[in-house]
């Protein structure tokens, strides 16, 4: 399974292809992308740092949880490190399942679990400084 930290741009199509399986009737690709405005402060770019040796086992754990909870699901997760431009994906999650309901559920589970557990840190870089930014509960980060 494709579960990894990379340094450099993510090939989204490659992550999507990694979940191809003949039993899949549904595929979803989630991209976490750099956002320009945070709390009214303009973000120029983002920088990510990872504990890669731990992050990959955490990704594998989450993928295993998904496979157990939604039998037949296939997952690929890639997070990049280094500087990321606004609008570029920092993390891509692809999920394929036999049916669409499971696909939405599994994809949602993946992003929430990764946000809560993946040992990766984000720095927002502004025109006049920078700050490390932690994740907040669902959808408000």
């Amino acid at each position: 399974m494709m579960l990894k930290i990379v340094h450099g741009p993510i090939d989204v199509a490659l992550v999507r292809r990694a979940v191809d399986q003949p039993t899949a009737g549904a595929v979803l690709v989630f991209e976490g992308v750099g956002r320009q405005d945070h709390d009214g402060r303009r973000v120029v770019r983002l920088a990510y740092e990872a504990y890669a040796e731990m992050a990959e086992p955490v990704m594998a754990e989450i993928a295993a949880e998904i496979g157990a909870r939604w039998p037949g699901a296939r997952v690929a997760i890639v997070h990049r490190t280094g500087e990321v431009a606004i609008g570029e994906p920092s993390m891509v999650i692809a999920v394929s399942t036999p049916h669409r309901a499971e696909c939405y559920e599994a994809s949602r589970h993946a992003i929430e679990a990764l946000k809560a557990r993946l040992p990766v840190w984000k720095k927002e870089i502004y025109e006049d400084g920078s700050a490390w930014k932690a994740n907040t509960p669902a959808g408000r980060g």
Binding site: Y51, A55, P57, M91, A116, K122, W132, N135
Partner: protein
């Protein structure tokens, strides 16, 4: 005090040592991304963190503990040769 693990080696004086990894704001504060540290007898992860990263005027940064690439509890006692880390609030995704 828990006995040393099967792979334990003893440095001069019987001290046990761990590899400590630093990330993000802790890496910036310490100025290094890792170091080898001798453990005090019976030292827990929480105590090791307090010793290596003393609280400043703004208080101590809340962290999660990691030991051998998995989340761990602050009351766990690392063993000789372990890899440990104190994880600042995460921001992946």
């Amino acid at each position: 005090m828990t006995p040393p693990g099967p792979g334990a080696k003893e440095a001069a004086g019987g001290a046990l040592a761990v590899r400590v990894r630093y990330f993000a704001v802790l890496r910036e504060r310490k100025g290094v991304d890792e170091e080898q540290v001798e453990l005090l007898p019976g030292e827990t992860l929480a105590a090791l963190y307090a010793r290596l990263c003393p609280a400043g005027p703004e208080g101590r940064l809340p962290v999660a503990f990691a030991r051998n690439l998995a989340y761990a509890r602050g009351d766990e006692r690392p063993q000789d040769g372990d890899e440990v880390s104190f994880l600042p609030p995460i921001g992946g995704g």
